[in-house]
Symmetry: C2
């Protein structure tokens, strides 16, 4: 603990790089996705999660947790996706409180068509810039962060 401000400096530096680089990156990819397919990144991620989920449906709470959004954020997000016809609601017969978000056929098609360019965009940013090993170590390093934040919420991020 009493050690060096160097560690602090390194941490701050890494953090600032992360913050700025990531902010610009997200904005960039988001703008691209938005202009090409009228989807935000979270729209896209939501569709992706649903597509991978069993039966193409998820509880809104689980979606919120996976997307790192509050329940109200998910409500508005799905609101837009419903209006666009990409998802629809379904209720649970064993629990009247929960509502499922269900991926529609239209939604799946939309995801497929958006995937091509979005993945290509990510590829362009990441794969061209890092080697395979670097990518893995980056993923590993960054993978440690969420645990810190949400606490013990390692509930079923299996997938």
């Amino acid at each position: 603990m009493s050690t060096s401000t160097d560690d602090q400096t390194a941490a701050l530096d890494a953090w600032v790089r992360l913050l700025r680089g990531h902010a610009a990156l997200v904005r960039d990819l988001n703008a691209e996705l938005l202009h090409d397919h009228a989807l935000t990144i979270n729209d896209y991620e939501a569709l992706l999660l649903l597509a991978h989920a069993d039966g193409g449906q998820m509880r809104r709470t689980d979606l919120a947790q996976s997307l790192q959004l509050t329940p109200s954020g998910v409500t508005r997000l799905l609101d837009g996706l419903e209006r666009a016809g990409y998802v629809c609601k379904a209720s649970c017969d064993s629990d009247g409180r929960v509502t499922y978000a269900v991926l529609t056929e239209t939604g799946r098609e939309k995801l497929d068509s958006a995937s091509a360019s979005h993945v290509a965009g990510i590829e362009a940013l990441f794969a061209q810039r890092y080697t395979r090993e670097e990518l893995e170590s980056l993923a590993e390093l960054l993978g440690r962060l969420p645990d810190a934040v949400g606490g013990p919420s390692c509930r079923a991020p299996e997938r």
Copy 2:
């Protein structure tokens, strides 16, 4: 989707981790800073940049570039900081278009008091979780990203 290589999967995976982990992290630190000192992360970073700048002042454009914000974002940001008395405006006598943001004494004190807990928070997240070497390699890896965005060939250079 296409056949695809594992590389794409790896890129996507790294990206998703980055996205989610970082989003949660930013929200977390932001909330902390906000509740403890009534500053957003960008408020803090702006004060920090000004404190490091020569004469404690910067042109708004340069601030925008450093913070990865649009000019309008900087206007609102500084609007708040001015209202709080942490910065004030100054005009340039050699160029009537530019306005400087100048850190006030109050602002410098605010930054100092906020720094303690904020740096501690970052320390808690980063330095405890990574070794010195990992931190450096993380910083290096992430440092390559911004170049991609603002960079040479990609796109949307105009605007």
